[in-house]
Subunit: 349 residues, 2 copies
DNA sequence: CCCGCATCTGACAACGTTGTCCAGGCTCTA
DNA sequence: TAGAGCCTGGACAACGTTGTCAGATGCGGG
């Protein structure tokens, strides 16, 4: 019976299509396996001459340590996971980058995934990250029930939620003061004489959206203004529906003189709608965005700092891993009203 | 001698601070180790009753398969790496997202890292990803020598370069037609009567920057225009220096009547500078950006599609992994001139 | 009633690394 | 010069999973 090559057969010390291992390096350098390990990890106890021989063998074979095996042995992966809604959203880019910088400072890599605002996909992603044994997780939740994370928390996976709180579990949260920010933004419009103010926001099942709506209501109530149902549009995000919602508010039976936009995508769409109108309508948006200052008029916004949000969360994560942090906490970062013109327009009835 | 707990001691089947393993699940379910593996991987040959018992044990213990061990055994990680310049840059967010979507369609996770345009950091990141044995790499190179990747390529790591070509190695590349785009953009300005046209771009050691500069020169030469050295500003990116460069071009001995901006960050800064001037200066920018249409005047740009760039690259990557792709290729995607007003302003001398 | 076969299950090795521990050779001192 | 102590290097097991292979079980037919 003729022998055929099988996976695992060795040819001149290296496996077919596979990578050289420490064993191969050891054989080539004429030293023991552990000595190679010591050199690779910069551990003491290797004479300069031996080290040189090993380095040469590593170079010659193009050896790279297999971190999967290392992880298996050591238990830490030096990587953290980030689950967010959509990396293409300008709000999350800087956030992700901030998390990455902190991770890098701690020698960790960042694995990230977009949930597309789908709770199921969020869970799928988070569990995939856990299966890869990330040391920690930064999650911008899409769903509102995170009990599926309980075994992970128990197993010591550091976890921080960002932008929105975790559902039904105890965990660290870092978020912006959506309620206060929205209330201040709407109050700002009221202070400039507006009473008929529209609100366009995301689905209230999203925590931030609900909080911003609550802020809107609170500001209106504080001013003794009764809110017409037709002034509120909830759960619309895609440009076309935002456009329709805005048009309806502007031409309804009780037309608004100002609009509060619940997030940057909505704001931008509303700006587009208003650009097509001749009537002056005031606008305040939640979330800053690039070029807001260059539009005519400049767009007044309630700004939250995505990078700080990410940095704060990541730092807490690594403090959890240190062990210097135990009790879950809720950290709320203040927002900042930036006036640029659009929010200071007087009502035009 | 009192016994003290050591790492490795077992308490009711689970290790301290560690996670349950298949062995633990097997013990609890009263089955063999391999049977658990079969259930977890949906392999056939398990009776419904046994499967139920195993599932219950998994549930009860909160077991998650350890993918590090799995990878070690199987050789594939079902993850790909993406190295780009800066995730916070609006050009890379959509690109990253597009790569992620393709990866997801192939059941792979995305690990990404920002090189911050630093060749050393790029190499460090790429090698860290290789150590984690990603199946493939999408790289937006910062450096111009990628020979360090040779062992990886030989070992079968699928690799695609995006936006800029690889240096000194043979590899797949997907990029935009920077030269043609810039030439067309500048020609557009020339067609509208401009002859004194400024160019502000990134360091020429960056391939795209060099190509765009080449396009600028080509368009000028085609029109028989001699370029004044003071019209070109190379290697400036940070807002302050771009601002100074623009001001100098506008007020120099031979002031320009139009500016071609080499990338979106430069374009935005130039828009800011021009907003502070009363003299009308034409502007064409490379790269589209959000809200370019809402500025007054709208900003004419040479648009490249970041998402398509990312998608194309990722698709090639997985075709490499299929084995259906062998020879490295260079794919150049066309750019598109979008006229919005700023590029059609006549020269104001 | 027993054999053969199909079906289900488990023991065992291997993946590539690191931690533990011991051997051998060296230096230093009494 | 012998003994103690240090330094370097290597053998071996373990991490948690999957592939291989053989054993156990049950069933139907001769």
């Amino acid at each position: 019976m003729p022998e055929t090559a099988r996976r695992g057969d060795r040819v001149s010390g290296t496996r077919y299509g596979n990578r050289p291992t420490m064993k191969d390096v050891a054989a080539r350098a004429g030293v023991g396996l552990k000595t190679v390990s010591r050199v690779v990890n910069g551990e003491p106890g290797v004479t300069p001459d031996t080290e040189r021989r090993v380095q040469e063998a590593i170079e010659a074979l193009g050896f790279r340590r297999n971190d999967s095996a290392r992880v298996l042995r050591k238990g830490r992966t030096a990587s953290i996971g980030l689950v967010l809604e959509d990396l293409a959203d300008p709000f999350y880019g800087p956030l992700s980058r901030a998390v990455e910088e902190v991770a890098r400072a701690h020698g960790a890599l960042l694995i990230n995934g977009s949930s597309a605002e789908d709770p199921e996909r969020e869970q799928e992603l988070v569990l995939a990250l856990c299966a890869r044994r990330v040391d920690g997780l930064v999650v911008i939740p899409a769903g509102d029930d995170h009990r599926y994370l309980e075994p992970e928390l128990k197993a010591g996976v550091a976890t921080v939620f960002v932008d929105r709180p975790a559902g039904r579990i105890e965990a660290d949260v870092v978020l912006s003061d959506s309620f206060g920010g929205a209330r201040d933004g709407v109050a700002h419009l009221i202070a400039h004489g507006h009473r008929r103010i529209g609100f366009i926001g995301d689905m209230p099942r999203i925590h931030t959206a609900a909080e911003r709506l609550r802020g809107y209501r609170a500001a209106m109530e504080d001013a003794g203004i009764e809110v017409e149902p037709s002034w509120m549009s909830l759960g619309v995000t895609d440009p076309e529906r935002v456009r329709r919602a805005a048009e309806e508010m502007l031409s309804g039976p009780v037309p608004v003189t100002a609009i509060f936009a619940g997030n940057n995508r909505v704001t931008v769409t509303v700006v587009r709608v208003l650009a097509g109108h001749d009537r002056q309508v005031a606008l305040v948006g939640f979330d800053d965005f690039e070029l807001a200052d260059l539009l005519k008029p400049g767009v007044t916004v309630v700004a939250q700092d995505a990078a700080t949000l990410g940095r704060t969360a990541a730092e807490r994560l690594f403090r959890q891993l240190d062990g210097s942090l135990v009790t879950p906490e809720r950290i709320e970062l203040p927002t900042r009203l930036i006036t640029r013109g659009s929010g200071e327009l007087p009502p035009a009835d």
